[in-house]
Amino acid sequence: MKRRTLRAQEWLVERTIHVAGMLAIAFVVLIFAFLLRDALPVFRGDSLEHLLAGRYWRPTSAPAQFGMLPLILGSLYVTVGALVISLPLGLACAVFISEVAPVRLREVLKPLVELLAAIPSVVYGFLGLLMIGPWLADALHLPIGQFAGLGSLLLAFMAIPTVVSVSEDAIRAVPAALRESSLALGATQWQTIIKVVVPAARSGIIAASLLGLGRAIGETMTVLMVTGNAAVIPQGLAGFFKPVRTMTATIAAEMGEVAYHSPHYHALFAVGLLLFLITFATNTIADTVVRRAGGVKTR
């Protein structure tokens, strides 16, 4: 009798655990479904082409215009800028930590780099807005201390820990035999790093870049605070020194004030849906690249 209730209990617990295992899938599907549900009504008023390629985001004018092109390009500028800074620095840092640094220094460096990821994004935004922005505006003779490049700079530092830890995992996974054969053939340590280790860790490094990209494009508070929030289409290289507005910042700044189920509300969900699809694609590709290479964990 007792044994039977135990059995039943166990069966119940194990069922629950099985269900919990599926939760991650359920939540991804749910998030997608809810974004889609609240974004779809916007297509009644506008065509997809109109939304994606429209040059004007004027949600409060009459008639309202929901062209996402300035927001998409704003995100692109800030993200590309962040990658240009964070990829070389992060990769160099990973190589330094895993191949060159003395053991003692390594033990100090790793937690310091991780600290960069632990600082809340609103604090980066705060520092950018009150201190770094005004400094740079002064030094570069800019009219205003809030511009795309400042967002890129801060995002780069937030993305560096991701780039460092994923590339470092990839570099550490390179078999020692490869290094030793290269050194035995008379190559210097640097030649070994650049011609043997880094190429062998290639797929992990690509994954690191993609994950860094995903982080940068989805970052919200910092960009909201430091990029000036002007929904204009950035032009050329000069665009880095002018205010822009990203997709994330638009949602964060406007969602608090819109009426429930207004066209503006649905348009913001459409921006969210687009963001979700972009990060979904980059993460899935990164995961596939890593898995094909085998071994390295994406975190």
């Binding site: 166990e10 194990e14 629950t16 099985h18 919990a20 295992g21 599926m22 939760l23 991650a24 939540f27 991804v28 749910l30 998030i31 809810f34 974004l35 070389p88 992060g90 160099a92 840092c93 930590i97 060159v100 937690p111 310091l112 780099v113 600290l115 632990a118 600082i119 809340p120 994004s121 609103v122 604090v123 935004g125 705060f126 807005l129 009150l130 530092f157 560096i160 640097w190 995903g214 982080r215 989805g218 919200t220 508070m221 605070m225 994330t248 949602i251 964060a252 969602m255 608090g256 429930y260 913001l268 969900f269 979700f276 990060t279 979904f280 993460n283 899935t284 995961d287 994406t298 975190r299």
Partner: protein, 279 residues
């Protein structure tokens, strides 16, 4: 004919590597120094614990928010990790679950905010509240809890499981009496790390939980909106013109101390626990 000998090139390259490590690390130290210097001068007993215009309600609000978040996310995350590490067989389903976890971890935080608004605030009628914010943040930290718990479970030696099963224990008895207790320290460390993550997040609670006030009481139930530190800092920095500069810096310092303090606690705990294990 080479411009530099291999040895010269190596020297230059290594110098560049040292430099890039310095470029990454020096700003961290700089940020901490500036925050301490400017924040400490604005910090006062009144600002921290004053009955009016103090940060205490926001600190308490943050603690409530992250506690409820952990309470919701921990059972789900640990159960999912147990499934993945103890029950699941490798195959397309597990592959799909892992892909979902990676993607869940990559969803932009503001998109979690949108989802929370549509599901918890509106559909479930939680309103803009502590509960809606905690549910939203719980989703955000779930992938982190799953992956750290899984790592902790993986560290438990296979021999322990075999010994337990060999004595006639069922699989669930083995998990509950042998595997989980041994993985507990690692699981708790992961949980603390995710609490520190949740404590600093702003975007997910913008439209699901937070409001700003300098003179506000604490929430009376889980259905009340709350004051939290990151949102307080955001509003002070961007929207309220007459907050003294020193108060802003002090608020930023308090937030950083709270978040990094929790983080450091987890790191120290991990190092301690790692030292005490022998397998």
């Amino acid at each position: 004919m080479m411009l530099f000998s291999a040895q010269r090139t190596e020297k230059l390259a290594f110098a560049a590597l040292w430099a890039s490590a310095a470029i990454v690390v020096l700003p961290v130290l700089g940020i901490i120094a500036v925050m301490l210097y400017r924040g400490a001068s604005g910090l006062s007993w009144g600002l921290l614990f004053g009955a009016r215009e103090g940060l205490l309600p926001a600190i308490v609000g943050t603690v409530l928010l992250v506690s409820l978040t952990a309470l919701i996310a921990a059972p789900l995350g640990v159960a999912a990790a147990v499934y993945l590490n103890e029950y699941a067989r490798a195959g397309p389903l597990v592959r799909l679950i892992r892909l979902a976890i990676v993607n869940l971890a990559g969803v932009p935080s503001v998109v979690y905010g949108l989802f929370g608004l549509a599901l918890f605030v509106t559909l479930f009628h939680f309103g803009r509240s502590l509960l809606a914010g905690s549910c939203t943040l719980a989703l955000l930290v779930l992938p982190l809890i799953i992956s750290t718990s899984e790592e902790a479970l993986r560290q438990v030696p296979q021999g322990l499981r075999h010994a337990s099963l060999g004595l006639g224990a069922s699989q669930w008895q083995t998990v509950r009496r042998v595997v989980l207790p041994n993985a507990l320290p690692g699981i708790i460390t992961g949980l603390i790390l995710s609490i520190s993550r949740a404590a600093g997040e702003t975007a997910p609670i913008l439209f699901t939980a937070a409001f700003y006030s300098l003179t506000s009481p604490l929430p009376k139930s889980v259905f009340d909106p709350i004051l939290v530190l990151p949102y307080q800092l955001f509003v002070m920095a961007t929207e309220v013109p007459n907050v003294p500069e020193s108060t802003k810096w002090a608020t930023a310092l308090v937030l950083v101390v709270v978040v990094l303090g929790i983080n450091l606690f987890a790191i120290v705990l991990r190092a301690r626990l790692r030292g005490s294990r022998r397998w």
